[in-house]
Subunit: 149 residues, 8 copies
């Protein structure tokens, strides 16, 4: 599928406001409501749009501590450790990167007590983890939305 | 503002589908459409919901390379470097963490050529950067949506 | 419990001289001896004051070497290693920190021979320790007293 | 000055309770009140006892975040940086160690916002600092009192 | 075997063009065709010339990703791991170096998917590997030919 | 340009013996000499084959020490440092990689004295280099030929 | 034993020339031959002088490669690994230091082949070694003699 | 110069006892006193024997602390820093190694106070030093004598 300039414009508008109505998008782009609906359905079908979502302020729903982890695993356990970790609702994201053979993981918890519990009871209990490095978010300069990392 | 169990349920539904109609949410939760609208407006006003958005498959819009950077700065330049970087549309997010005095940055580019150009022309050209470490995403095990890191 | 400005003033005076009499504190703050006693009892009861203590010059009681350790453990052994180490009277303090999955430990010994013995016989003998890093204190610029780390 | 077994016993009792009366110490050790007073005065004069103090629960006086820093300096600035840092009331202790040419520093602050402010405004503003590494205390296994590190 | 100035000249010409005819080399150096043939045969016999080869543009034959690996092994497994890895056609070269006890390895693969597969299925599956570090080639400033590393 | 199975077969034969005659290749593949010549000319024109070369045993031409370098530069100097280094005939290859912001460089010298001279006189003399890490090749397990890294 | 200024003078002379005769030392210091002999015997008896020795140019006796190793061991194996290594005549010295839990070892070998053999066959074969880091001496700026490290 | 088996035997004897008389060496090896003298003179002339020396117990002459340093320099300052350091009598040896661009230095001092003074006043005062890492000797397993590192 080739996405054209109009598709890109639609994606930009939806990134800013994911609930913008077809009518408003159509008006903005000088197209008919039907054309917009068709294009958006197409973008969904082709999985360009993976889903519509919200950006929730973690702090305001009680997730006050945002932590980044580097999780070193025995090479033979890396995939199974990752598959266990992603089941944990405190784990926001989990990636394998080039560089050292670690999992890069983002975690959101309510407070330090919960973080310590997560590390000592949930993370260190997994077989195949050899070393963990954790860092706490101090300041957000920019936080993506729209594009998936 | 205190958010209650119904608010949380609404947030969960919107995380899965950010365009779910008030009527459908109301039906799901056994409440009136008006009550839902009021609650959502409240969540927006109190900035619990920062915005509605889409999750776009970066690959399908031509951003094939996802890179993570650790950017070491002279301590006196860290904030100004961060403020310049976040203006760059290739920079998806940028955080200051505990640990080493670096900026943690996520970047989305089209290909390796663009990545090399970003590093050598856009990043290394900034005053106050002393060292850069970059890693490429190999595999996504989980990619958050909804909660802001 | 809310502590007010007078409580803070009392804590400051006791940090400087933990044996200051109620009468002298009362005079200093323009209050009655009884009021001071009541406030101090309250601060003890509420565990704001954990205890009264002395600051002893380690050097003068023969503890000439002050060492800091980073103790790497197998993740599953970290808590049990910590619980064994704190029983050792040479261990002055022991903390779990963010960052690498190590224990941060302060040790006071009489001399280098005792340090070497502590490392090779007491520390390395524990199951679950994978790596140890030690550094010796060269110069004190400031040494807290009063507030617990 | 040679300290003997009785002196050591007195120091132990004062470590547990820095306000223990001479009478109670005397009773405990089977000596006269006058003998105890004389010995304690001697220990103070000889600077074995540096001072009497309190151990305050940092959390309960609003210092909720305890952080450890490794501060790398240009070698020629290390002493002057240290001398500036120890003036800062948020800095609980500051040591020079063997190992890398860094200052090891303990900091107590009220919350993350204050920590970020301390790092970006108070620490990074100092001339001669080249790199900072910070870690947050997650769990206390043991916290010394009495002996100075 | 001593190689002289004429041998070196021949090697230089063959480095630039490995298919240069004996006649052309002879003309260039003012020698007879027979003398050149003899010298080249000699250089081959003495294994100064290990073989004649081509330099193929990896990109144009579909090997778009060039990666460098540091492979940490249990010391007792290092040689056997190396001997297994060199059988893999994706492994272009594999060296043991001074420095850390790792294998230094160059890998050529078609794309990121193949790289991830190589790491997770082919590399991590080997017994005795404890940690892997990978980096992707961004830009070639110079790429040797002729002399074997 | 699409390269087919026969092209790949030709490249394989030339990798093993870069001087193989068109006639021998033709015989091996059951094709005419003319067809082979045409295909090879095509591969050269399309820059699939960058050049024909030799693999010379460095040791036998007096290059007894093979060293790998990681060269850290001030970010603004990286490209100019690289461009200077590649002019040096001792530098066999020089790449920019993901990971830390260093140049990865391979160097061939006659002996340790020459290596020390290269480091202290030729490398450290360049402006913009902040740190150098060098390792010596101990053992070759596999050394690529044919495909360019 | 207290050593005085004359003893120190004698030690200095012997450091420069360990075979200096008692007569020459006596002349130099304005003392009798007998006094010198007595003092030297005393220094030997008190083990101030551990032995008389030579400084041999390693290069000239065929030990052309001088290497420094950091040997990481499982903590429980450190002492036994050290005790095995010191039996190896290629090992010139072996120390336990503060810092990481490694042995610091100096090795003298004839050439690179012997070094590779030492690493792969003699060092890696020992049980309890987890990681080895080796560096080669490039240039001597000063090489102690006399005082034992 | 070629050294033969008898030369080697002589060197071994002198390594054990640098003051062994020619007569005793001659007896041990079944040769004449004159032959031994001639061979030793030859070994000295050819600089195989650099000098005769003593091995002094550092501890017993008041050098109680033995420290190893890694000194990072700006590349352009490395040689001049080394040349200044070797003038310092506390510096026992100083080498340039492969690996990171640091000087490896051994230092002998009387106590910790002197070590701290050496670091802060003598080492950090030198221009061109960017970072210093120091470790203290805890235990000697073997200490070379005879062969120069």
């Amino acid at each position: 599928m080739k996405i054209d300039a109009i598709d890109r414009k639609i994606l930009e508008l939806l990134t800013v406001n994911g609930r913008m109505s077809y009518v408003d998008i159509a008006k903005e782009l000088g197209l008919s409501r039907v054309a917009i609906r068709e294009r958006i359905n197409n973008l969904i079908e082709e999985e360009v749009i993976e889903k519509f979502s919200v950006v929730i302020n973690s702090d305001k729903v009680g997730k006050k501590v945002s932590a980044f982890f580097e999780v070193d695993c025995e090479p033979t356990s890396l995939v199974s450790v990752a598959e266990t970790l992603v089941e944990n609702p405190k784990v926001a994201s989990c990636y394998q990167m080039t560089g050292p053979s670690t999992l890069h993981m983002h975690v959101l918890v309510e407070d330090f007590e919960q973080l310590e519990h997560f590390i000592n009871e949930e993370l260190y209990a997994l077989k195949g983890i050899t070393r963990v490095e954790s860092h706490i978010l101090l300041r957000r300069f920019k936080s993506r939305s729209g594009l998936k990392l």
